[in-house]
């Protein structure tokens, strides 16, 4: 069943709505639909002429009107293409013309950073105002609001949407086309809305982390674990560590300027460089020992017992394969059963030390 909604407006600004249901093979509804359709057409034409005759009056009185979404077969009077504050060009009509029919969209756009495109007088009309995103509007206006003559994000493919946005934003997001989001058909408008955003700075549809949770449902439980980074508390956001537009690193992770793990931006005391590095940290990364989203284990460790974590690597069970296992062979024997001491009680500077090779201090 296909349904179409038509918004009809009287001169007084009231909106009327009638819903049609058209059945592709529903012969049983045909007569009823024809009767309804005939009455609607009569009413529509009556209102159309009334509006056409009276349209200058409310504009002169300064009243605002709801924008019309005219049916293509019955063209409604639209403002002629006018010179606007944006630079005109072939096929471009300027944002003020768009405002004539789409005032609510215009207003929402004017409250976002995108309005600044109208200031780019040296740039082309293709980068300014509404037409910077939706393309030239002259044919759309001339066609009485013909939707086939304008770029509509809601009906475009993810690739087309990405290409549109990257026309201007490619410099800020140069890795997007190679990113997992792009490959998964997560287009720009999956997260951002130029007209109905909740977060003005990034025009996000919904704030973080709820936006990210809406797809990454497996991450939300991780942040609900007893020990977690404070994302749900509002202290951090997903974009503190990840760049959802893609990076050169895996998992869309950011790095610090000196190419250290992004973790060291906050946990600066672990960055080093140290005289005595714990080499696995620099070679394999922080996730060798930690689960950064959340963990049932304290300090976000991967396992509950710190000694098990250390012994996983520091055991010489196969020296041929792991000659650098560095398990104690002739040195002090740490009797795990009796004198149980967590490794980090003594090896407290475990991220690296400038004083002792064994990370005692």
């Amino acid at each position: 069943m296909a349904s179409k909604k038509y918004h009809l407006e009287a001169a007084a600004g009231k909106a009327m709505e009638r819903t049609y249901k058209q059945s592709s093979n529903g012969m049983s509804h045909e007569l009823e639909n024809q009767f309804i359709w005939m009455k609607a057409k009569l009413l529509f034409f009556a209102l159309f002429f009334l509006f056409y005759l009276c349209a200058p009056l409310p504009l002169a009185l300064g009243q605002t009107q709801q924008p019309a979404e005219p049916k293509s077969a019955t063209s409604q009077s639209v403002p002629a293409a006018n010179p606007s504050s944006t630079t005109g060009g072939a096929g471009f009509v300027g944002a003020d013309t768009c405002k004539g029919c789409h005032e609510d969209k215009y207003k929402s756009w004017a409250n976002t950073p995108h309005w600044k495109t109208a200031l780019d007088t040296k740039g082309e009309a293709s980068h300014q105002g509404c037409e910077g995103c939706h393309g030239p509007g002259a044919d759309h206006v001339a066609g009485g609001g013909d939707k086939t003559k304008i770029f509509i994000f809601q009906t475009a493919s993810s690739k087309e949407i990405d290409a549109r946005c990257l026309t201007c934003h490619a410099a800020a997001h140069p890795n997007f086309e190679r990113s997992p989001h792009a490959h998964a058909k997560v287009s720009c408008t999956a997260c951002h809305s130029a007209h109905a955003s909740k977060s003005e700075a990034s025009l996000l549809k919904v704030s973080q982390p709820q936006l990210c949770y809406s797809c990454h449902t497996d991450v939300k439980p991780a942040f609900a674990q007893p020990f977690h980074h404070k994302v749900d508390e509002g202290l951090m956001t997903c974009s503190d560590c990840h760049d959802s537009h893609g990076t050169f690193q895996g998992r869309m992770l950011k790095t610090t300027a000196d190419q250290n793990a992004i973790c060291t931006k906050c946990h600066a005391e672990t960055a080093g460089p140290f005289v005595f590095e714990h080499p696995v940290i620099k070679a394999e990364g922080c996730t060798t020992c930690h689960s950064p989203h959340g963990s049932p284990n304290a300090r976000l460790l991967n396992v509950s017992n710190a000694n098990t974590l250390c012994l996983q690597c520091h055991s010489s069970t196969n020296l041929a394969a792991f000659p650098n296992a560095a398990s104690e062979q002739g040195g002090p024997v740490h009797n795990q059963a009796a004198q149980y001491v967590p490794c980090t009680n003594c090896h407290s500077q475990i991220h690296g030390s400038n004083a002792t090779y064994n990370f005692f201090r």
Partner: protein, 751 residues
């Protein structure tokens, strides 16, 4: 042991006082609301000097009622009673975006001030095409006292001469620090051909904490945590031609490490009255070199310790460290050439670490016969990082595209330390009797350690994408990575008789296949399978073989309904003989958000995850452990004769439900419940170990209500319940279960 805590005893008088204060404040705001004369139709905000100004503030407070483990509540929740500025917003927009000197748009928000553990302030300003400014300030109170972490699990009943060695009831690595993070960035001429960026970040982390060290006995240190980082950024972006941008960026990071350590926990005395400690890890009665008990007398206050035991009477350490990391980066991005999009960057960091004056002093008696030692010296290190990355996407045809990414990364960290230790030897911690005599001083030990850590990585990713229609696309990728890890540590140690130096090379090949389907505009499904194999592994838990399976789907049958689900399975293994490392992370999750109208809404989430790992490991244990997995270790393990499997399994479930109601325009209410439960098991290397948080439930039901009294005035109430409980035994520490109810009352005012 007495440790730091925001509150150690629930203060009913304080809560009553807080209630009265908050109540009076709300009543006065209510009176103000009714006297304001605002009608239901009065517009919020005002227009002044060409700006539309809207502000809001939520003033109120919290009342926290807790029972059980205050330490655990402060670690996981840490919401205390008191008045708050819960939220504040300021929004200023120039009308018609025109004609103002300093800014067109200014928005500011504040939340959590007055006593919450997390405070956040944001500020954004911009003016046309002239500039754009963003600022963020965050303050985070990090209180941590999970008492099982780093706890030696001293059992009850360790007695010497009538003195019972104290059990460790808090974490010996407790933290009570505050982190303050500031991030600001300014862009000048953001939409011009040439634009400039400047940024500054500051991260200050400070506060008291505990640490520990071993010198014969295990001593508790007061660790005055004081670290800060300042980072500056300057950049130029130039668009020489259409769709091409060149960027030069200079960033400098300066780190200051001023943490220092002092001995604490001096709960005993030597026979001459000097305060002393035998350490905190006395799981058995310590032995002393003179053969006598460690406690000479328990009748004194404090009890008297045997000076021939491993004992601390004084300790201090400082290691002021300064690190400077300047980085130069050149970037380019271009999609000027038709059907080609490419970008790249080159980075160079030439950083230095300098520790000009290391100082450490110990007094007491350690297990090497040192009555005192003093270590001084210096250390320095460099970080030279060179990296280059290049990516290109070639849209071959409407259906096919090919992308290539090459990454080169090479860092080198040569370092050097030069420390001199002067020892004072003795058989007792007591100073010599009678006239002072020169102590027996061993020859100073000078340790010079030139070390090196380096890593060179080259990675190549090639991906072919096929999009037969706008509804479906396939990607097939191949990744090759070569890494060389280099390490030099020349010192002879107990396990590295001749030091260590190696260059360890790893080659990794991997493939990834992905599919993305959009059967309709409302429904998106994506999935990928990744497999890789490395010829070597750097550590036992680094995977040689990896498989990653992922499916995600998101369905929006209506604008007001979203249903999504994820299956994510990461399998890794390093099944070399006598290693048998296996680990997996598997999760299944579903979520639904339904908001059919402005009156009702429902939010549901469920997730199940299983985190598992096992690795053959060898260790020493007397008595030997029993049970599955226990066995004799191979000869290479030396004196670590027991074989374990490092078994760890943490199946977790998460569920949440939340409903919102707005039956009338003036009333908004919500009700919800969240639970996170883990029922894990692990190999215990020690008989006193317990599962702790590995077998726990964390529940947090909540309820909110907001009643609009007048236009712009609303009364808000919020209840959050926090309940944490563990399934297994407590162990030789304090219990960790807690309950917390936090009531938040606030008046919301918009103007």
């Amino acid at each position: 042991m007495t440790y730091f805590r925001p509150h150690s005893v629930p203060n009913r008088f304080l809560d009553q006082k807080v209630c009265r204060t908050i109540g009076l404040a709300l009543v006065s705001l209510l009176v103000g609301a009714s006297a304001s004369g605002q009608t239901a139709d009065a517009p919020k905000g005002q227009v002044k000097d060409g700006y539309a100004i809207r502000q809001s503030i939520d003033l109120g407070g919290r009342i926290a009622d807790t029972s059980g483990s205050g330490a655990m509540y402060d670690t996981l929740v840490n919401l205390q009673s008191g008045p708050r500025i819960l939220n504040q917003t300021l929004d200023i927009h120039a009308i018609n975006n025109a004609g103002h000197l300093f800014f067109d748009t200014l928005t500011a928000t504040n939340s959590g001030y007055g006593g919450d553990p997390d405070d956040v302030t944001t500020l954004r300003m911009s003016k046309g095409k002239l500039y754009k400014f963003q600022g963020l300030f965050r303050r985070d109170r990090e209180y941590f006292d999970y008492d099982l972490l780093d706890n030696p699990l001293v059992p009850a009943g360790v007695v010497s001469n009538g003195y019972t060695f104290p059990q460790v009831l808090n974490s010996p690595h407790l933290f009570n620090t505050v982190r303050r993070m500031t991030d600001v960035s300014l862009t000048i001429l953001p939409i011009s051909k040439v634009s400039f960026r400047a940024g500054y970040s500051q991260n200050i982390s400070q506060g008291p904490s505990f640490s520990s060290q071993h010198n014969g006995a295990e001593a508790l240190y007061l660790q005055n945590w004081r670290n800060s980082t300042d980072s500056w950024l300057g950049a130029v972006d130039w668009k020489p031609i259409k769709r091409t941008t060149l960027t030069y960026e200079e960033s400098v990071t300066h780190y200051k490490g001023n943490t220092n350590w002092q001995l604490t926990g001096l709960n005993l005395q030597l026979p001459n009255g000097t305060p002393a400690t035998l350490g905190f890890d006395n799981v058995t009665v310590p032995t002393c070199t003179d053969g006598n008990p460690p406690i000479v007398s328990s009748a004194t206050t404090p009890p008297t310790a045997n000076p021939t035991c491993s004992v601390y009477t004084g300790y201090s350490r400082s290691a002021p460290t300064r690190t400077l990391l300047p980085t130069e980066e050149f970037r380019f991005q271009s999609s000027t050439i038709k059907n080609i999009a490419m970008n790249g960057r080159v980075r160079y960091t030439g950083g230095t670490m300098n520790l000009p004056s290391y100082f450490e002093n110990f007094q007491g008696l350690d297990n090497m016969g040192k009555q005192a030692f003093t270590t001084t010296g210096f250390a320095n290190a460099k970080r030279i990082n060179v990296s280059a990355d290049f990516g290109i996407v070639w849209q071959i045809s409407r259906q096919f595209s090919l992308s290539e990414q090459y990454d080169f990364w090479n860092f080198r960290e040569p370092a050097n330390s030069n420390l001199s230790e002067v020892d004072q030897l003795s058989t007792t911690a007591l100073p010599p009797i009678g006239l002072p005599v020169p102590p027996s001083v061993a020859a100073g030990t000078i340790t010079i350690a030139p070390t090196f850590t380096g890593l060179k990585t080259e990675t190549n990713n090639t991906t072919l994408a096929w999009e037969p229609s706008s509804k479906v696309s396939f990607t097939l990728g191949y990744r090759y990575q070569a890494r060389v890890i280099r390490w030099v540590m020349p010192l002879a140690t107990d396990f590295l008789a001749n030091g260590a130096a190696y260059a360890f090379t790893i080659h990794n090949n991997g493939g990834i296949f992905g599919v993305a389907i959009q059967p309709s505009r409302q429904w998106r499904i994506s999935g990928s399978v990744e497999a890789s194999y490395a010829d070597r592994a750097y550590t036992q838990i680094s995977p040689r073989a990896l498989q990653h399976y992922r499916i995600q789907t998101r369905y929006k049958p209506k604008e007001w309904a979203t249903i999504s689900g994820t299956f994510n399975d990461l399998e890794r293994r390093d099944n070399v003989f006598n290693m048998n490392h296996l680990d997996h992370s598997r999760s299944y999750s579903l979520a639904a958000a339904l908001m059919p109208n402005e009156h009702y809404g429902l939010d549901l989430s469920y997730g199940y995850s299983d985190i598992f790992s096992q690795t053959t490991l060898c260790y020493a244990a007397t008595p030997a452990p029993v049970g599955p997995g226990a066995g004799a270790a191979p000869a290479d393990c030396g004196t670590n004769t027991n074989l374990g499997n490092g078994y760890y399994d943490a199946p977790s479930q998460y569920g949440s439900i939340g409903a919102t109601f707005a039956p009338v325009k003036k009333l908004l209410a919500s009700l919800g419940y969240r639970i996170s439960a883990v029922s894990g098991t692990t190999e215990f290397l020690n008989p006193r170990q317990v599962a702790g948080s590995l077998r726990s439930k964390y529940q947090s039901p909540y309820a909110n209500i907001a009643w609009t009294l007048h236009s712009g005035w609303a009364l808000k109430g919020n209840w959050n319940h926090y309940k944490y409980g563990e399934d297994g035994p407590v162990g030789p520490t304090l219990p960790r279960n807690f309950r917390g109810d936090v009531y938040t009352l606030a008046m919301h005012y918009e103007f």
